[in-house]
Amino acid sequence: MRQLLSTDTPTTDEATEEEAAPEPDTVREATLDQLSSELGDALVGSHLEPGIDLTVRVTAEAWADTAAFLNTGMGFAYFGFLSAIDWMPSPFGRDMDAQVDLELGLDEKSEIDSTLEQGLAGGDTRFQVFARVNDIVNHRAITLKADVPDDSLTVPSWVEVYAGANWHEREAWEMFGISFEGHPGLRHIYLPGEFEGNPLRKDYPLLARRVKPWPGIVDVEQMPGDEDEEEAEESEEGASE
Amino acid sequence: MSLLAELSYWQQTSIRVGAGLVAVILVAGTLVMVHLFKLVSFMQSRLGPMEAGPFGSLQLLAEVGKHLQKEDIVPRKADKFVFAAAPFVVLASTFLLVVVLPGGPDAWFIQNDLGIYLAMAVSSVSVIGILMAGWGSANKYSLLGGLRATGQLIAYELPLILAVVGVVIQAGSMNLQTIVYAQANGEIFGWGGIGNPYVLTQGIAFFLFLTAMQAELTQTPFDMPIAESELVSGYMTEYSGMRFLLFFIAEFATAGVFSAIAAVLFLGGWYIPGIDPDDNIMNVLGPLVMFVKVVGLTFIVFWVRFSFPRFREDQLQRLAWKFLIPLALLNIVVTAIFKVWI
């Protein structure tokens, strides 16, 4: 993230930023090198955004081993979080949006696009688990990702490595239906025990929208305060021009 | 001869019973009003009740009315008789305590040479009531509260009694009336201007008595049996309406009665310096003097209650057995040595 360097006019900020951006991020590159030399083929993808973040994708089999190496071998002792993503776009598209929004043409993607399109560091499967660990001594952090095999939906558990992963894995199991091999007790954490379904999967409908129509953002925009803001913005634009 | 002695026995008895009721209810009411509603409110930078009557002075009636209207809920699995009887047992021990208190040369309820011994004995009855409430409620919090109360009250009976022993040795009597006279007629190094209130010679015992009293009353820092942040309300959790009101009255009346006992033992009871203790006017003035001393002592009780955090159960026991009881024994030994040798 860009840091503020001067209290003066924003132009100087932009200038420094342009200079800073091409600078190589040595710390993150070194981290990535060390990881890839240790993991070898298990590291299947990576994405390094200089000065911002490092994302590494490993195979599902190496998921727990990577964590163990990061924890003991590289000093990433701090457990941030663990969760999952469902990359399959919602089969419902945006049909639950308010009609006003659609009429305005705010949303171009009104057709349902069911192609899988994974994010940073790539991917092949519908589900990915991702986690973040920190090295609090050298102030480094890394986001780890792993593809969850579509057939078994199982990845190794992190509980042995990071004790705090326990609850996070329970949450991921409950919300996405991903099992964690070696977890001491996968049971519901937020939802009642008899709950069926995995709410954070994209094909799980948001029932609130079915029960009550969503008013849409146009309503919100017409509130009195926003009109003032709009005027102010217009006048600001006029002044800058 | 005093006014009271000319009345027949039944008239005297009914006056004493009435006075006993007044002593319990009036004292409890005053303490709730003055200390719980107002004093604590000012400590906590708020106003307290202000709506009912001028400065909320009628709030008490409103509270009582509210509790009387509430449904008397008994949990389904409760031991119904034990559950229902518990508040009465607790309140009964308060009334039994009152009877030993003298309020003037003739304004007493009973004259008994066992006086303070009787008081200490009947004060333990409330433990049974609390245990009944804790067990009878069929609630785990109540049970924990009741058991904690039992352990605590038994542990603190000892320093309480041992603290009293010093006074008894010095006065040479267990009769509370005699103790008052001993203080009224006492002298400090030959000067009898203010008598000899035992708080001066038995300062340690006074401190011990107040500490143990705080624990007996289950007030903070010894309020584990109620411990609202842990046990919801301890043995009182399941009570509502009238029965809760009885517990509430008992709590504050017992605070008043224990303070009265402390006033008798250490502050000269109904005696005030400057008036002959045998004067008939003391039968009227005495109860008022007692009342003022009680309010003063309960002020300390509630001041401490709303300032201090709570001990843990094991810390409380440690304090009782390792500190208070040895100190009390030491006090007894020193008092006895002075009594015999000097």
Binding site: M1, R2, Q3, L4, T7, T9, P10, D13, E17, I52, D53, A77, F79, G80, F81, S83, I85, M96, D107, K109, E117, G119, F130, R132, H139, T143, V161, Y162, A163, G164, W167, M175, I189, Y190, P199, L200, L206, R209, V220, E233 | V40, Q44, Y141, L144, T220, P221, M224, A227, E228, S229, E230, V232, F306, S307, F308, P309, R310, F311, R312, Q315
Partner: protein, 390 residues
């Protein structure tokens, strides 16, 4: 330190022994005590199923979800500006602080930067919401150990802070003031001078708490050596905020990665305490509240002039990408992992809330302690139910 960990170890041994003896030696039966969901100490709807032997805890299992509102799912159908309304309610005592990391993550994806003045005011409000939040903890911790009076002082003095937040944002609890690219409004006239007065009052409050609670022998006896978290265990559970700094770990996101907020412009100190017990967590929070008033004071002195909004399109569409931004919130590290597919709405928002991680250590920490210590330990971990359940 060794003395304390010895005590902790003894209590674990005792817990093991208690576990073995239930139903065997003394033929005692374990008792399962449900603490919550309606309980005065859980300030919310947390339920702790505690298996007891007498008053000793053999196993404790927190059960949450009574306030689960599904913000991660709801965020997927709301536009970016609408999401802040939801996430305001995560940690409801320091609401403004919840908005900041999400807005920063969205700004990072859009490659927009708020003007300096907005960053300054953001940081000021961020620290003020920290004070508003932690002040209540300082009072509430005393209630957990049985002293009722300090919490009234806390409520009394928090009012000043809330008034200032209301003066600037229009909302006492849920400001919803942060916008992608800046802030909704500029500060009202006279606000800076008033806030300085309030900061003085807050310092006086901290002194009051220090004498009334921290210095009290009973409070120390109840909290010292209770609930000891060794640093490595705390790290592996992902504890953050005062909970980890109370274990001697010198790590503060504000100092080490102050992305988007201007902490590097201020002279301040990260407080740590080596003991790792309930007392040290309370102590660290008290010092941090004081430090926060200093930070606010310094920032108030030199707010740069300029606009408070960067140029942002009217309809906000965030380019495709992923961003994770975390900040040091009142309760600990809070972060948002925002996945965008170039739409009006986020594709996925993972909310990494501090209390969820902070509470996950409780089954480990509560083993072997006594019932009264459950309350002080939970109190010192300081969770907000909305922050656990989200």
């Amino acid at each position: 330190m060794t003395d304390i960990s010895d005590r902790q170890q003894l209590s674990y041994i005792a817990a093991q022994a208690a576990d073995a003896r239930v139903n065997l030696e003394l033929e005692t039966e374990g008792m399962t005590l449900n603490i919550g969901p309606q309980h005065p100490a859980t300030h919310g709807t947390l339920r702790i199923v505690a298996k007891l032997d007498g008053e000793q805890v053999i196993a404790a299992d927190p059960v949450m979800g009574y306030m689960h509102r599904g913000y991660e799912k709801l965020s997927e159908v709301r536009t970016y500006p609408q999401v802040t309304t939801l996430i305001n309610r995560i940690d409801w005592l320091g609401s403004f602080a919840n908005e900041v990391p999400f807005i920063l993550a969205a700004e990072q994806l859009m490659e927009v930067e708020a003007p300096p003045r907005a960053q300054w005011i953001r940081t000021i409000l961020f620290e003020m919401s920290r004070i508003a939040n932690v002040v209540l903890f300082l009072g509430d911790m005393a209630v957990q150990v049985g002293a009722v009076t300090p919490v009234f002082f806390a409520f009394r003095d928090r009012e000043h802070i809330l008034n200032q937040i209301e003066g600037a944002t229009g909302g006492r609890f849920h400001p919803n003031f942060d916008r992608i690219g800046g802030l909704k409004d500029d500060l009202p006239a006279g606000w800076i001078a008033e806030t300085k007065q309030v900061m003085k009052k807050m310092r006086a409050f901290c002194d009051e708490i220090e004498t009334l609670v921290l210095g009290n022998e009973i409070f120390q006896a109840r909290t010292r050596g209770i609930g000891v978290i060794p640093a490595d265990v705390g790290l592996s559970y992902g504890l953050s905020g005062a909970n980890i700094r109370g274990s001697g770990v010198d790590w503060d996101v504000r100092r080490d990665n102050p992305c988007g907020l201007v902490y590097d412009q201020v002279d301040w100190k990260v407080w740590t305490h080596p003991d790792g017990d309930s007392f040290s967590r309370f102590w660290v929070r008290l010092q941090e509240t004081r430090e926060a008033t200093n930070i606010v004071d310094q920032l108030l002195d030199d707010i740069p002039a300029g606009p408070i909004m960067a140029k942002v399109p009217r309809i906000i569409k965030v380019p495709a990408g992923e961003a994770y931004v975390e900040t040091e919130n009142p309760l600990g590290v809070m972060g948002y992992y925002v996945v965008s597919k170039g739409d009006l709405v986020p594709y996925r928002v993972k909310i990494r809330s501090a209390s969820f991680n902070n509470m996950s250590i409780s089954p480990w920490l509560l083993k072997g302690v006594y019932v009264p210590d459950i309350i002080t330990i939970l109190g010192s971990l300081y969770f907000i139910l909305g922050d656990i359940d989200r």
